[in-house]
Symmetry: C2
Subunit: 219 residues, 2 copies
């Protein structure tokens, strides 16, 4: 890496520009090219062991988006935004998921699955930890939040607005999207699109604790 | 936003370039200017309600970094990397944290704290949910993973390598860094710096499930 791909100021300016958009402009859609890029950023999200215990449901159908509003405490962002991403975990991750992952490693890297037996043991041992020490669904949910963080930052860098939303009813989302029968479970949502010019929240100063209150240096 | 701040290809190229660095070059340090930028990206991380239930401990002291190795299953990244970020949650988040946050909102936005009473009720009600429905520490941990995702992506955009690490002993980290007595708890770690030229993992093809296996379109 000889030159810096992105200037420091560009990165910071975009993260300062980003805010949890309260009001999207329903008329403005994210272009197909930009959306394709954002989907690839989702796919590229790192996860522990590389296990990718997730599925991202991208909702653009107006009727379905409208159905999500009452499952989101009435928040209109899921209807007005251009695209809604539902971040879901694969429930009760187990050895079948490990095998699927190992098969993919073998395919991408051109190795024999049998050469990954040591890794299989690590992964199955990890997932088989006693329930009082390890909750596979909670672990997968944390991984999904890496994807959320990556997505919010990536969108901001492209000048695309987002609103991360925890204020939803996951079980109703699962029902509306038919996720439960596929073994997935809604965790969190991000609406994406463009802020309405009249959103009064856009102009409010961002509230963050002072740097010295959240960062400690051990130097 | 009239022009795009970052090109789609730049974003994707950096996310493809990123990998969980196994071997850092101990001689290469992240510049002060770049590190300052990355700390600001951490501060700017979004969180639910804006509560920022976290602290980021940045370890650069060689002796302390070395001490973290045995608390990290012997992984040398925490010693060899330029900077180590320990992502910690504020434990047992409660009304004192809410008040501290509201005071900060009042300060930044120039409003009376009393004008935020409605928001105080929402926040204290949220944190006071019955323990069987809501685990404040787990909730805070998920927020920390937003910061992790944001950090990994931001670093990649600046051409800085990282290694996210869950394979650590959080309680030993807390002890080495004196976190418990301050009410914080280690959740996850990211080492940051520059990959060693001899790291064989750098050249391996990235393994991700095919896009259609992780993304569903409802359109």
């Amino acid at each position: 890496m000889t030159t810096k791909p992105v200037f420091n100021d560009t990165l910071l300016n975009q993260l300062r520009w980003r805010y949890a958009t309260k009001q999207f402009d329903p008329a403005r859609k994210v272009s197909a090219a930009d959306w394709k890029t954002l989907e690839e950023t989702l796919v590229l999200t790192p996860s522990s062991f590389g296990l990718q215990p997730w599925r991202f449901i991208v909702v653009t159908d107006p009727a379905r988006k409208e159905k999500l509003v009452p499952a989101s405490w009435g928040q209109r962002q899921v209807a007005d935004a251009s695209h809604v991403v539902v971040f879901a975990i694969k429930k009760n991750l187990g050895s079948a998921d490990v095998d699927r992952y190992l098969a993919r490693i073998a395919e991408v890297r051109g190795v024999e699955v049998s050469s990954l037996n040591g890794f299989r043991e690590v992964l199955t041992g990890f997932l088989a930890q006693p329930a009082d020490a390890f909750d596979a669904n909670e672990w997968a949910s944390r991984q999904v939040y890496i994807a959320l963080g990556n997505f919010l930052t990536s969108a901001a860098l492209l000048g695309i607005d987002t609103c991360p939303m925890e204020g939803i009813e996951p079980a109703r989302y699962d029902e509306i999207l038919g996720l439960a029968e596929q073994g997935y479970q809604t965790v969190v949502v991000a609406a994406a699109g463009y802020r309405a010019t009249e959103d009064p929240y856009a102009a409010l100063p961002k509230v963050r604790f002072a740097s010295e209150e959240v960062i400690t240096h051990v130097e």
